[in-house]
Every structure is written in C-alpha cells, then in structure tokens.
Symmetry: C7
Amino acid sequence: MASGIERPLDLLNSAKGKEILVQLKTGKQVVGTLLAFDIHINVVLDNAKEVENGEQTKNYGLTFLRGDTIIFISPSNVKE
Amino acid sequence: MASGIERPLDLLNSAKGKEILVQLKTGKQVVGTLLAFDIHINVVLDNAKEVENGEQTKNYGLTFLRGDTIIFISPSNVKE
Amino acid sequence: MASGIERPLDLLNSAKGKEILVQLKTGKQVVGTLLAFDIHINVVLDNAKEVENGEQTKNYGLTFLRGDTIIFISPSNVKE
Amino acid sequence: MASGIERPLDLLNSAKGKEILVQLKTGKQVVGTLLAFDIHINVVLDNAKEVENGEQTKNYGLTFLRGDTIIFISPSNVKE
Amino acid sequence: MASGIERPLDLLNSAKGKEILVQLKTGKQVVGTLLAFDIHINVVLDNAKEVENGEQTKNYGLTFLRGDTIIFISPSNVKE
Amino acid sequence: MASGIERPLDLLNSAKGKEILVQLKTGKQVVGTLLAFDIHINVVLDNAKEVENGEQTKNYGLTFLRGDTIIFISPSNVKE
Amino acid sequence: MASGIERPLDLLNSAKGKEILVQLKTGKQVVGTLLAFDIHINVVLDNAKEVENGEQTKNYGLTFLRGDTIIFISPSNVKE
C-alpha cells in the first residue's frame, strides 16, 4: 500500500479522478473529485461540497481552490 | 462533465464571460462576471456584488480582486 | 461595457486619473484619484480619503498604498 | 546518536518509512508514517491520525500536508 | 499638483527629506523625515515619532521601518 | 566576546553542537542541541524540550523546526 | 545629522557595534548591541534584553533575531 510515492505531489497525481478531502485553514473541509492541481497546490474539484461537523452544508459544484488556504489533502478518507 | 481541465487555471479560462462566485478570506463572498485573471489569481469581475448570508448587500460594478485574498472560485453555482 | 480588459492590470490602467475605491484588509476603505500602480498592486492615490460606514473620516492627500494590504479596487463605484 | 545530520532535511530523509509527529500551526498534531517530503516541507504521511491532548481523534489514512502549516516534525517521539 | 508620478515609488522619491506619515499594520502611526527607502518599502525616518489618536507618544529618533509592516505612506498630511 | 560574527548565520554556525533556546511565534520556547540549520533558519535540534514559564513540559527528542515559525534563537542562555 | 544614509540598510551598517532598540511584531521590544545583519533584516544582538513597559525583563545574551518578526529598529534611542 502507498507504493510509488517518491515526492509529495505523486499522491495528488494518483488521486486524480477520485474523491478527496481538503482541510482549509479557515477550519472548514471540502470534499470533491480531484480534476487538476499545480505546484502551488491550487486544485480544481468537481462536485465540491463544504463539510462542517461531518455534514455536507453547501454544494459548490466545479470549484477552484487556492493552494495557500489548504492545510492537508486526504484522498483516502472522504467519509468519516 | 468537467472535461478538458488539465491544469487549475483551465477552469478559470473556461469561466471567462460567465458568472462566478468568489469566496474571500475575510469571510465575504463576491459574485460577478469574470473578465480577466492572471497566474496570481488576481481577477477582474464585472457587475461585482458582495454577498452575505445569501443576500447581495453591495454593488461594486467593475472590480479588481487581489488573488491572495481568495479562498475559492466557483463558476458553476452563483445562486444558492 | 468593460471592453478591452485582457489582463487584470488592464482595469487599473484604464482607471488612471479617475476616482477609485480601495478596500483594505484592515476593514477600512480609501477613495482617491489613481495616479500610479505597479505589478505588486502598490498604488498612489491623490486626494486620498478614509471611509468608514460610508462617511469620509480622514483626509490623507497624496498617498502611497502598499499592495499587500489591498483586497479589491473598484474604479466604478466610489460613492455608495 | 543523531549522527550524519549535516542539513535539516537530512533528518526528514532518515525518517522516511518511520512514524513521525507533526505539529501544525492550528495547534493540532498529526502522526503517521513519512512517505515523502520536498524542500517546501510538504509531506505525505501514511496512516495519518489527528492527535488532541494525546488522544487520536481522527484517522485520515494517506494524507498530503502542506509545508507552510507545519511548526515542527519529530521522528523520535510519536507517543507521549 | 501630483505631477510627475509615473510609478508608485516616484512619490516616495519626491518625499525624500520631507515629513511623512506612515500607517503601520499594528494600527499605530509614525511620523518623521524620510531619509531613504528601497523596493521592499523599507524606510529610514529621522526624528521618528509614534502617534496614537493624534498625540505623539514616543520619540524614536533615527529609525529603520520594515516595509512589510506598512499599510500606507502619506507625505502630504503629517498633522491632522 | 562575540567575536568573529560577520553575518547573522555565523552565530548559528558557532552554536552547532551546543544548547540553544528557540522562541516560537506561538509563544512557546524550545531548548535543545543544535545539529543543523539552513538559510531558511530551519533547524534540527537533538533532545528538544518544550518550555513554558521556565518549566520543561514536553520532550520531543530529535526535532525539525520550520524556520518561519521562529522569532529568535539564543545560544547563550538556555536556563533562566 | 543623519548624513550618509542613501539606502535603508546604511542605517543598520552605521549602527554596528552600537546599542539598538528592536520592536517585534509580538509587541515586545529587545535592546542589545548590533553585531551583524543581512538583507532579510535578520540581526544578531549581543547582550540582548527583552523590554516590557520600559522594564528589562529577560536577558538572552547573544541572540539571533529573525527579520520577518521585526517592525522597526532604532539605533538612537535605547532608553526611554
């Protein structure tokens, strides 16, 4: 498991097309399907939904997230 | 759906001329028609309106938004 | 309307010599005549006035504003 | 002990494949197995778990952590 | 008035040797005679005085101010 | 005393292998033996201990500290 | 007075070997003898003392101060 990850961005590359969980510095979380990312960790999610306390509160659809607002990204655990 | 997005900025490029929702780090949201953007995610909106709790509170018209104040941009869901 | 804006700085260029509204990260707003700007969005305003709750509270005259303190700049709507 | 560390990143290199403790600027701690890191101190952890007051509260599995949210990383002391 | 200002730093250049008002991000203001500045907007003031609520509270004399702590600089209005 | 310090990093270089006190922006202090540092002021400490109000509260052992979380480093005064 | 200061760093250069007052973003002040500085405004002080409300509260001796935590440096007025 977790094989083939030499550099941090390898994880994001392998998560393309899959659901990811994004923790923002604001304290909120966003889940969605990862479509694209760049070296600034800017990401584009499809079907992006804001999550608070495990509840999906808002639906933003296709969304561009600025990398400098992100704490962590977890591809493996979008439902808790 | 969401085809043709290889890099994050591709989403912004495809949103030119359309209404977008911009979430600011201040907690406020701005909606408007995307006219231009650059690699710093500076954007120019036409008919920019501030939104609080789903209400449009102020009308700024043509507006330049500095990229480092932006959390996310969503082209697909300007009305909630 | 809003024609000829290919890049975000085009808006600032077209606003030279005109009144603009600058929203600062501190929560305050400044209005004044745009004399100059650079790629850091540093701007020089003539006849700069601080605005709180729609009231002009202080008059700073000719003023240099550091770009990293700016949220947005709106040339089109200096009076609300 | 602690031999062979000429530059700070040498410590992270020697910790690959081992459990590390990551202190975030948010005040939270994350523990997990270090899989990869880069010069921005972006890290990928396997089996990442959030820790509050010594209790493991959430399990994020494979996780990308942005370097600019990190205060310190300690490979030697994941249990207190 | 305000002629000859092509770029923002032109204003600072024309203010050398004159009194300026510096608004800091901390909320405090400093007045003093501008002796030098650089592209980071680091400035050196002679006879620098801290101002709170229009009162000069402390006298720091010759002072180096780091550019990233500055909101705005106004050469024209040191007394309110 | 304090001879041979031409540039700030000279002090860190001369402190290698010695105990240092690190003041973090979070308000906490860490003491430990300096093993390595780089130009970002990232440091690696051996036997790192968190200090609050003069009390050593936690022991992190070998630790990587990110430079941008540091206010000051004092090699000469680890006990107060 | 204040002659020979063409660029901001000239002031720091002329203050080498003299006592300076450093205002930190944390609100605290540090006084000490300036031994070295660099373009990031990292400084090394000898005999560094923390000052709160005009009282010297802690003595850190030889100290490295990170430039990005500094608001201003005043060589001329270490006692108030």
